[in-house]
């Protein structure tokens, strides 16, 4: 494991768990870096920032738009997240760091970052390869291309690191249904949840006596729901009502989870799969049961919208020459049916 994403329901102790995991990895002798999305990255000192300034600045001027001050870019929505992603990619690539923990905050924030890192490389690509590039009249296009190349490398690296990352979701017992749906939507970005931490569990709910209370049974049922849906470990941390959480105690309780995460292999490849059924094909994308899904197609691109989150992906080669004949949610997965397009796929019977 190299990159560990930690996110969860706001206010459930996401940052406490992230800090506890970091402490746990350090106690295990691993060199650990922590990145927190809630803390603004030192953007002025980031090479990614100067690359972004160069790229946007040259582009604006090249297209005849008014020039800008570098400070104007600081407030650009998403730039801080891109730079944080670049810092994370740098840390993952650092051979002296064993584990990088990215505290992404609430699930809403995490999904926003993931969508951003998935979309921006495509948009940057269009900037250079689209019609706008032909209109460029920059006196030194080499400067633009060099900055653009480094900018894209950083963003693509961050995106690819996330796709290979291990993800831990945090919430309270009552948040289990939300965690189940968020774990499904995270798959949209090939981000697979490896463990769930239920935080602030009342001590009585942790007891294993035969006389379980109603809420204790409920807690057990919800944990079973997670196991059934995803088959991932569920760790419970006790509720603490005084002086806030202590990182050292949290780390001790998370030690078994650290060991488990440490031994997990990197996620490899996308979560979706294609299978052949006679002359047709089936495209399966695991999400979650009850997902609100829309599917669009434009040429070789597929647009998946799950609970408002978007992912645009290039169809695998064999499906580019097919038409979508139908599909929908089947259990927890989106299943699309494809048939060869007679216009581009010669029938073997002829």
């Amino acid at each position: 494991m190299e990159l560990l994403l930690v996110s969860g329901v706001g206010g459930s102790g996401v940052s406490s768990v992230a800090r506890g995991l970091a402490r746990g990895f350090r106690d295990a002798g691993l060199s650990t870096a922590e990145v927190n999305s809630a803390v603004s990255a030192p953007i002025e000192s980031s090479s990614l920032w100067s690359d972004a300034v160069d790229t946007f600045g040259v582009w604006l001027q090249g297209l005849g738009a008014a020039s800008m001050a570098a400070d104007e870019l600081v407030g650009l929505a998403g730039l801080n997240e891109l730079i944080t992603g670049g810092l994370v990619a740098d840390a993952v690539a650092n051979p002296n760091i064993d584990v990088v923990i990215w505290d992404m905050g609430s699930t809403r924030e995490a999904l926003r970052i993931l969508q951003l890192l998935d979309t921006v490389p495509m948009l940057l690509d269009r900037l250079l390869t689209g019609p706008a590039a032909a209109q460029l009249s920059a006196p030194e296009p080499a400067a633009l291309i060099a900055a653009w190349y480094r900018l894209v490398n950083h963003v693509v690296a961050a995106r690819d690191d996330i796709r290979a990352a291990t993800c831990v979701l945090v919430g309270e017992t009552r948040d289990v249904p939300e965690l189940v749906s968020v774990a499904g939507v995270l798959r949209l970005y090939d981000c697979v949840t490896s463990a769930v931490v239920l935080n602030k569990v009342k001590e009585t709910h942790l007891a294993t006596s035969k006389k379980q209370s109603k809420s204790s049974r409920q807690s057990g049922q919800e944990a079973a729901l997670i196991d059934q849906e995803f088959g991932v470990p569920v760790v419970r941390l006790p509720f603490r009502d005084t002086r806030g959480p202590k990182v050292s105690k949290t780390a001790v309780r998370l030690r078994p989870l650290c060991k488990l995460l440490k031994d997990l292999p990197r996620n490899s490849g996308p979560v979706w799969s294609v299978s052949a059924v006679k002359k047709d094909y089936t495209f399966t994308f695991p999400l979650y049961r009850g997902a609100d899904i829309r599917v669009g197609r434009r040429g070789d691109s597929l647009l998946l919208v799950c609970d408002g989150q978007r992912r645009q992906l290039e169809l695998p080669a064999v499906l580019k020459r097919c038409l979508i004949t139908g599909g929908g949610m089947n259990g927890a997965s989106l299943v699309l049916r494809f048939a060869p397009d007679p216009k581009v796929w010669r029938d073997s019977r002829e």
């Binding site: 002025e44 100067s50 300034v53 160069d54 600045g57 040259v58 604006l60 001027q61 008014a66 020039s67 800008m68 001050a69 570098a70 400070d71 490389p121 495509m122 690509d125 269009r126 250079l128 390869t129 689209g130 920059a138 006196p139 030194e140 296009p141 080499a142 400067a143 291309i145 060099a146 900055a147 653009w148 190349y149 894209v152 490398n153 693509v156 690819d160 049961r289 009850g290 899904i293 829309r294 599917v295 669009g296 197609r297 434009r298 040429g299 070789d300 691109s301 647009l303 645009q312 992906l313 290039e314 979508i324 139908g326 599909g327 929908g328 949610m329 089947n330 259990g331 699309l336």
Partner: protein, 90 residues
């Protein structure tokens, strides 16, 4: 702050805001010179990026070809939404 700012920069004085204009201008100038000398001159004769792995611009082109969808034809600007079946549980 003694260096000449980049040609596209508006020239607002951002001193005291943590932004090092001099450093940026110097870096940009070096980058321009390096890119002009080592990249553009050679890249101009490269017609197929796959045949020039040593060229950073050709590699950049290939990076995107591998990681993003093909450019969209101009007549396909709108996504066609697919009618999905009602959810099933088979």
């Amino acid at each position: 702050m003694s260096e000449k700012p980049p040609w596209w920069f508006s020239g607002e004085d951002s001193a005291g805001k943590g932004f090092d204009l001099g450093g940026l201008a110097s870096g940009a100038q070096q980058m321009i010179e390096w890119a002009r000398d080592s990249l553009l001159t050679n890249h101009q004769s490269h017609t197929d990026p796959a045949e020039h792995q040593q060229c950073v611009l050709c590699r950049a082109m290939q990076l995107f070809q591998q990681s993003t969808p093909e450019p969209i034809p101009a007549d396909e600007v709108v996504f066609e939404w697919i009618d999905l079946d009602p959810p099933t549980d088979r």
